[in-house]
Each structure stands twice: as structure tokens, then as C-alpha cells.
Symmetry: D2
Subunit: 347 residues, 4 copies
């Protein structure tokens, strides 16, 4: 590890750093003629960089060397492939997640699940617990919504991803969900991340709308460090200064993440755009930048929904997106995963 | 309420809005020659704006009229004054909160508590549960830290504010703390806010580092709507694009909030600056913009601390900040609240 | 036009607005029961919205109605197609612009021009006048660079786009360039835009790195209002908060602009990414979002260049980008324009 | 100078760097065991850092050492004091600049100049050339406005600061102005900065609304490098994501700049707030953070002005700001400069 030290460091501060480094098994090497730099020679372990970085004496880690966090892609290492029901993310596999914003009724959820599966989705999304900006907004159908998701899952054979907001709800959500979703507002909710690190089901982690990429990856590290290795990252737009779109889909982040981590990366163009007419273009852009999948809100009649109706696309637009995703995946030798098993109710 | 509707609205979507409006007690009035606008005449209640705004048909609430949320200052209404031990925020009272970033040992915490109280602080800050970016960073002394805070509180007579990260910890934190802190990363953590809304102790709510002011106020509304009326807002810097300071202290937000809400507003220059040498200047700037208090990290020997040592100011700088705060408060007829009761151990 | 007025407006302020509106040919209609709104009935002309918006009395233009600026796409109107030599932007035509960052020597420029033309570029880029952050950085080869561009243009038959920084240089640049480039730093340089509005050659206008889309379009309007109708807009990344990429390529802006204006829109992934390894992914993302072209920096030996060497891609990566662009254009029925005329020197 | 090199550097790229370094008089020293770092030992000159930084081989300058740009404050060096008529900025002197946004008529300008001078302003501001977002907005009274400014200057004895937008107008503006203003949109307009570097009159340089502090200081360096040493920096708000205020006044930047550069720093709360009611609070905050002055728009009847009327404060608010500025300056031993010479027309 190569460290830049703070200027005008006291003897005591430097000693704290040196003591910790030795405790972790490193040899501390001064650099001739450059008093502000120090090199640590030693083993490297996922937790070392953060622990060294936290020392007051350290202004910046210039090179982490072998102290590689769990999320990092070792040189030449393959993608982690995350499988959820029929869906598969990473390693050349591209999958589509679709469904309503919020779960409302059994009939509506079933209808949309059948439609999106028939058109090419391999994973059903739908919120039972909804994070909202106002205490007076619809907070989701909660337990009733989970129950609906469970029945639709049984009926259609589609695996389900849904959000957990509260560490106390993780168990209940886990009884139904095939994949836990962590929303943008909760990316830094550590008790929740720690709870999900103890689960053995995949986690879909959305980037906070103003999180740096290192903060995003360290949020994933909370889950990985708990022993849960199945994390899919989701870029869903960062906060910008222009009101034309709700957020700015950061396709550069997608491309950068694919090089930096072995974890799969998908995009959510619905929350990025905030308006249905731009969703297909943003979904395509995310795939073209290298994303391993797209999650989007689909609704047969967008006006009749309790939340975020304006950003849900219709069924025809979804069919077009499926076709585009297939072509885009093929562009660099990847494959769009199609639903293959017959739906249970047709047997 | 005056509403701008979405363009090309379907009959059904408009009917959903009209039905909800009538259910809430409003009369729906069309505006002659302007099909995209509609006026709602009726009673107004804190929850109405959000519920109407959530309708798909509504593009924008142009004027909320009498539907005023609990956080809003009615025309001419006085400040809410929040009292915590000797400290008082709002209504012309300015108070200073000081202490270490994280609670480490009893002796160190006691020493600093005595020092800051003697110099003019009326509330002790210190983290037992620490929100961190990395799972490998020091996560706080937790229960042991709470216990230390309790002992120092008893010994010095200083009231204590400390952070709760997890709704499951609120009870334990509440046994020691005189005021709950919600950190920037948790501003939108609704289960936590809801739990604090059920408490009857003051809450110090920090602005998310990329939250709009309306989002910030609606986070406060989660607490207020639960029946807890004692909320102090804290501006602690928003994320910017320049690496010179860690965050950008938004003094315009302070001035705007003081006009918009009756709740007290303070600033945290330590997290805004991220470096001790700029903290006094930012504390003064916050007060000059109208803040009802300053919270800052103080440490007798900044280098010997586990977290955020670089932003803690020394004791002499704190004394100077107290003097400046007194002068700045006086500038517009306000008063810096001084510790008046003798410390228990001196009796 | 539908206007929201400022609250507590004086009689005199309202009269100023009403007088201007009448002078422009509008009838001012009050809205029953809504004192803060006013409707203007009348003809509509490109300059009316800005002039009305500038009145102190106007808080916001809610609907511009028929007062449509020149950049706006009328409902159902086709794309403006901008042709520069062999290149064509808009109306289903996609073209690639490539070349070195800065013009250095004749031999190097000629070599790269031949290579990129052979691989599919139809327009040569290269800076003679370079906008730089520091006064001590290489400011470009200036007149000598223009002369080189002129010779390479004659030799290869490739049309040339190059930047003008100073209104006093427009004439000299125009003697060589087939298209003027306005850089991001100069998007709001009005004397320069006004000068280009008087030219009759196409203008490539880059978005300021923190410009809203309306500000971007109004910068184009400065050129259009001067009578020069040939403007191509270029999204080149906005300033973000994460250091991983230099800027954030705003693909949502591309999609939104294509709906809002009839002008062609291209992307510059080189300046967005700031690092060569991400350029192809961002170029593909821009095209997938609907861009009518890509401009990128190409250099046979990236290390041997005076400016921005780190973001120039090599020739093989460029060939791959050409192939991808062809496939992406085909995805929605568009065509990548290929160089068709034989190069002059081969005749 | 201490340099971090790019990874996987070619022999040729490294040689380019080494050759330039030697040419500038440096000895290149490798660091034992750290191939990515290199130390340059040598003289240091203002232009060296930028020239070395531009080499492809250099990933980052870790320490500029003695290669200090002209704007940098050498350790222990005093403030540069800039004097403009009666106004004085820096070295403990605080001055107020006031006046209308745009120059309209002689009578109105004279009236306001007399009022603000009588209340404590020592420098008159007022735009003759106005940078605007739309080509259809009022672009200023131009030559006629300059002439009015000249007459008011002669009549009142107040020195004048006004904006130059175009390098071709610098001479005409310089015939009237005591100080040139460079607006936020033109901070990176290099031909303009270079022209002002050739003048021998003070320059008021406003920060671009999304410029980093290093970019801001390097813009000043363009003027300083031309031989004009009289530059005053002006923080006027950066672009944020919240619509409540037009911009975010970056008081941390003020505090940081005062430590980093010897040049005076002032704030412009009018453009930061974008609304008159917040201007006094932001002006106070800027001074409390260490600013050497405040520039604000004042208008006796805010509604009757062509541009930015909503952000101009009235005369009584200005008087209060003068009193506050006096008290705030005194807080740390500084002095508000008062108009002392009798106005010429009273002689």
C-alpha cells in the first residue's frame, strides 16, 4: 500500500498509523527524500485499506496494492454470475426485470406478470413496502402486497424481487422474495445492509442518487462482508441540476463499474427518466454501455396506479425494449436470457 | 389549491383526481379557457397536498393554499422553541453543541464535556453508533458508548445528543440521550423517522447531503406527523464538485428555512468543511445567515481519535467560536444561551 | 401564453407586463378566482417568451403556447438535416467525427485523417485554437494549425470542424473550416455566438458542462436568430461529483433533446469519459439513446500528443466503434453515413 | 515536485516527461520501490506545474513544491490590497459595491449612486453590456450605458465597476470603468482574460457557476500572467439541485480561498440568492466567512427595472447591510471602508 500522509504530522499521529500497520502485518517503509509518503509492505486483506485510511495520519491511499476489497475484480477475473429463478446476470447473460411500481391487487399484478413474462421478462418487480418522500403518500400495501406477490409467483413461475426498507421486515420479505431490493434512499442504511449480509438470497442494491462509485461499492461490501456473495448493482440515475429529467442516468458509471468489480450491473431507466417517453432510450443506452440487465416499470394502463404512474411504460414499448435488448446484447457477444420454463398454470 | 394537470390526460385519470379531491372535501373548479389548470376549493389539512400531488393527473401543485404541512410557518407565526437541558433553539435563542466525534473512553469524554461546558456549550454531542462508509471502519462503541455518555451526563449536568441508526436501537439510545440525532445518511430512513415520531424527546434531523429543502422538510414531517413536535433541523453541507472542502455549507438554505418553517435550524460546520481550519469561519457564516445554533466537533488532541479527527477543532478555537457566536447573535437581537446551572459534581 | 405572476405584485409592475404584452399583440385575460395567473391570447413569435419572461411581474411561464423559439420542434415537424461535406446529421442519418485533440504537425494530421476516413469517419476534428484551464498550457498551434487543416482537407477530401474561441478569429477559422465548433467553456459566449449567427456555415455547439437544457437551446437560438439555421448540438458530459469519470454523459439529455428540438444532436464520449477505455461504451450509449452522431478523439499513438492524450482511442477501437455505430443506427431504421467519394489524391 | 505517474507507461511517454523536466531545469529522481512515483528537484516557476501536469505520463501532481503559481499565497505572505477609487479590498479592509443591475437612464443611475454612496458604498456597480441567457432579452444599454456611467462617476466621485463581455469592447469599457468585471459566464473566456491581463486597471473576476476553485484561480492566473496584478475574486454562488435559491453561495470557498491565495475575495449575494429577501443574510454570511467585501444590487423601486429586479434590495435593507458589515468586519479586527471624500458636486 502506498500512502500520502498529512502535512505537519505529530510524532504521536504517525506512531498510531505505524502501530496499526504492524499489527495488521505490514512493514512500514519510508521513501527517501519524500517525507509525506510511506509504503506498507505486507499481505493485503479486504479490510486493510479502510482501516488504514481511517487513521488520522493518512491523507490519501495512493495505491491499495494487494489490499483488495471483496467487490474488486482481480486482474483477469471473471464476472460473478447471479441467478434468480430464470434470470441470470453477468458472464454474458442479460436479463430483464419488469412489473408495476407498487403492488395493488392480485388481479392486476397477475395480469401484468403474465404479460411481461410472455414478452421476455424473467424477473418480476413490484413494491410492497414503498419508500416515500412524504408521510402522507401511499406507503405500499405491505404484508398484503407480499402475500399477493407470493401468489403471483406461484401462479406464473416468475421469480420476484421486492424492496425491504426496515431490518425488522427482512424476514417477512424473504419468505416471498427471490431477491431483496435495497432502494436508493437506503443504500447507506447499514443495519439493513448488515441484515441482508446474513441472508443467503441475492440482493439488488441501488445506487444512492448522490453516492460516489466507491461509496456504492462499499455499500455492497457491507453485504459481501456478511457472507452473502450474490449482489447485483443497479444504476438508477444521479441527482442533476436540470428539471427535464428526474435524474441523470450515469452510463459512464456502468462502464466503469464493469471494469472495477466482478459484480453484475444493471440499470433502472424508469427512475432515471421519471417520464415514460424517455425510458426505452435510456434502457438501450444502459445496455449499450455494458449493463447486464434492465429493470423497468411496466403498466398496462399507466394512469390507474397509485405511485410513479408517469414513468411506467406500456406493453408495446416493453416488447420493443425486449427486442432491442436482444440486439444490443448480441452486439458484443452476449445473450438476452429468455423465459424458458412453461408457466406452472399452463401445465 | 391550484393544480397544473398533465397534458393529454385521459378521462379516467382526471376522474381519479376529482374523486380523491371530493373525498377530501374539496370542490373542483375548472378555469375558463385553460384546460390544464384546476382549482380545488376546500378546507386544507397537512396531508392533503401530498395526497393530491401523488395523483397521476397532477403535473405540479402551483399553490398549496390552505393545505399547509405541519412544518410550515403560518404567516406571522412565531418560532417553535426547542429546549434540551440548558440549551434552547429558536425564538431568539442560540445554543452551541460540542463534543467529540465518537465516544471512546469515559475519561476522555468527561474531560472534553467539562471543557466545552466551561467555555459555553450547553449540549454535548458524541457518537456511540457511527454510520460509516466502509464495513471495516470503526462502527462506534455502541452500548458501551451509551453507558459512558450516561455517566458523563450525570457527572457534568450537560444534556446529551447522540445518533440512532436503527429503529431497533431507539429505545436504548433514548434511555441516555436527551435528544436523538438522525444523521445525513438516514434522513430518508422512514422506519427510523416513524419510530422517532413516537418518542417524546427532541430530534436533531440532519439534511441528507443531496436532499432538496422540500425533501428535508418532509423528512421532518414524518416525525411531526407522529406527534413529536420537537424537531431541530441541521444543515451540514451538500455534496459539491470541488474537492477543496468535503461539502458545501448551504447558508442560503439556512436563510430560506428560517422563512419557510417555524422549526429551529442549526449548522454543522465540521462535516461541511471536513477540515478543522475552516470550521470557525463556516460556523460564523451559518450564524450570520440566521442559524439558531452550531454543532461542532471539538477534541483536545485531534490526532488521537478514531474517526473524523481532521475536522475537530481545538479548545481555543472553540472558545473563539463561542465569543463570535455571542457577538453574531447580538447583531440581530438574539442571545447566545450560556450554561447557568452549576455542574452537579461541584455541588 | 399562461403566466404565473409574482405574489404581492404592485400595480405598476403588473402594468409594465400588461403594456408589453399589448405592444407585442396579446390580449391579457385574467382567470376567475385565481389572482396569480394570467393568460395572454395572441400571435406568438420566437422572441415573445423571453421578453415576457423578463418582466419582473412574471414568476414563471406555465405554457408558452404558440410563442415557440426557433429551436423548438413543432408537433410532427421533421428533423433539420445538417450536411457538412460527406457527413450528414439528422433525418435518420448518423455520422462519425474523428481526429486528434490538437493539430500538431502536417504529417501526423494527414496520417490520422487518412486512417479515420478509411475506417468510416466523414468529418475530421482537430483543434488549432485550444481552450485551456491554465495560461501555461499549450494553447494550440493557432494559424499554423489552421493552415495544416486546410492542406489535409485538400489532400484527403475530408471536411473539417475546428473550434473558434474568439470572435476576432471567426473569419480566419472560416477560411479553412467546413463547420465551426463552439466549445463547452464558450457555450454562453454571446459575442462569439452572435458572430457565428452571421456566418452561413454549420456550427457544432457543445453544451456547457453545467448548462441546463433550456440554456443550451437558448445558446443555439443566438445562432439561429442571426439567420444561421445549421446548428448541431453536442452533449459532452456534465460536471458530476464522482472522480471516476471526468464528466457524466447525459444520455437522458440526448433523448429529451431529440423530442424537443428539430436540430441534430451528437455526443462526445471522449470529453465525457476523460479516459480512453470508457470511450467506446459511452459512444455506443449515446447512439442507443438516439444521437445522430459521435465525435471522438483518435490517435495512433496516444502518448505522443500535447493535450488530452489519455482520452484518445486507438485505431482498432475506432474501427470497432464504426461497426457498432452501424448496427446501432440500424436498430431503429437509421443509417450510418459512409465516406463515398474517392479521396482526391487517389484520383 | 512530486508526481504520480500513469500505470503501464510506455518508455516513450516517460521520456517525454523526463525531457521536459530537464529542459525546465529539474533533476528527475526515481523513488526506491515505487515505480509509479517520481520526484523533480529544481527551481520552481509559476508555469512549471501546468506544463508538467499536461504531460501524458503524469496522472497527478501530488506536491507542487516550489512551483507556485502567481495567485498562490506564499507561507506567511500578506494579502494583496486592491484599491479602486475610495474602495479598498484585502489587508483588513472591507468595502461594499452597490448599484443597479443594468444601467438604464442617467437620472435613475445618478439617484441610486448618490443614495448608496451616502449609505456607505465606495464603488458603483451597473451593467452596460449584459450577458443574457436568451437572444431576445434586453442585452444592455451598451455604449449609451457606458456614457451614463461616466457622467455619474464624474458627478458623484464614486468609482465604477462594469462588465466587459467581448475582448473588442475592453478599450471602450476601460475609458469609463475604474475596474473591469468579468461575469460568471465568461470566467473561462480566455481571449477576454488575456486582454484584461494587458490592462493596468483592477479586474473583478466572478467564479463560474460550476468552476472548481483551482479552475477559478487559474482563470485569475491568465490575468496575472499578463502582468496585471490587481485581481479581486468574487464568489457568486454555484449551481445546485434545489430550486429554492438560484445558486448556492459557497462560503467554504471564501474561507478556503483566503488561505490559499493572497488576492482579495468578495461575495455577490444577489446572484447567489436570486431573491431579495435572502440577500442580506447571504451578504452577512459571506463577510462572516472572511470575505473582503460584498457586491449587491440595490434599487429604490425594484419592480421598475429591466433585468434581475427580483434580486435587488431596497435602500433600507442596504443601510442595514452596511451596519452589519461594519460590525462583522470589527469582529476579527477588520475595518469597513467608508466614503470619505466629499462628492464633487457638493464642492
Amino acid at each position: 500500500m502506498l500512502l500520502q500522509l498529512r502535512k505537519n504530522l505529530s510524532e504521536a499521529d504517525f506512531r498510531s498509523l505505524a502501530d496499526l500497520a504492524r499489527e495488521l502485518g505490514y512493514r512500514v517503509v519510508a521513501l527517501d527524500g519524500v517525507p509525506d509518503l510511506v509504503r506498507l509492505e505486507g499481505p493485503g486483506a479486504p479490510e486493510h485499506r479502510s482501516r488504514i485510511e481511517d487513521c488520522y495520519a493518512v491523507a490519501r491511499v495512493l495505491d491499495a496494492g494487494a489490499a483488495r476489497e471483496l467487490f474488486q475484480r482481480a486482474p483477469g477475473a471473471p464476472d460473478t454470475v447471479v441467478t434468480v429463478g430464470e434470470a441470470r446476470f453477468g458472464g454474458g447473460a442479460v436479463s430483464l426485470i419488469a412489473g408495476p411500481c407498487a403492488i395493488e391487487t392480485y388481479d392486476a399484478t397477475l395480469a401484468i406478470a403474465r404479460e411481461v413474462r410472455a414478452r421476455g421478462a424473467t424477473l418480476l418487480r413490484g413494491g410492497a413496502y414503498k419508500p416515500r418522500t412524504s408521510p402522507y403518500s401511499f406507503q405500499g400495501s405491505r404484508r398484503a402486497g407480499l402475500e399477493i406477490l407470493g401468489r403471483v409467483r406461484a401462479e406464473t413461475g416468475l421469480a420476484v424481487v421486492t424492496e425491504a426498507l426496515d431490518p425488522r421486515d427482512v424476514e417477512a420479505v424473504g419468505e416471498v422474495a427471490d431477491m431483496f431490493q435495497v432502494g436508493s434512499r437506503n443504500m447507506a442504511n447499514q443495519p439493513l445492509l448488515a441484515e441482508l449480509g446474513r441472508q443467503r438470497k441475492p440482493v439488488l442494491l441501488k445506487r444512492g442518487f448522490a453516492a460516489t462509485l466507491r461509496e456504492f461499492l462499499l455499500a455492497a461490501e457491507f453485504v459481501l462482508a456478511g457472507g452473502n456473495t450474490q449482489v447485483v448493482l443497479c444504476e438508477r440515475g444521479i441527482r442533476g441540476f436540470d428539471p427535464s429529467t428526474r435524474n441523470v442516468l450515469d452510463v459512464g458509471a456502468v462502464a466503469w463499474l464493469k471494469r472495477t468489480t466482478h459484480l453484475p450491473v444493471i440499470v433502472d431507466p424508469s427512475h432515471a427518466a421519471g417520464r415514460a417517453d424517455l425510458v426505452p432510450a435510456l434502457g438501450r443506452a444502459g445496455l449499450a454501455a455494458g449493463a447486464d440487465g434492465v429493470m423497468c416499470e411496466v403498466h398496462p394502463e399507466p394512469g390507474e396506479t397509485h405511485s410513479d404512474g408517469s414513468q411506467a411504460i406500456g406493453l408495446e414499448d416493453f416488447s420493443k425494449l425486449v427486442a432491442d435488448a436482444r440486439a444490443l446484447a448480441a452486439l458484443d457477444g452476449r445473450t438476452l436470457v429468455a423465459p424458458t420454463r412453461p408457466a406452472p398454470h399452463t401445465v
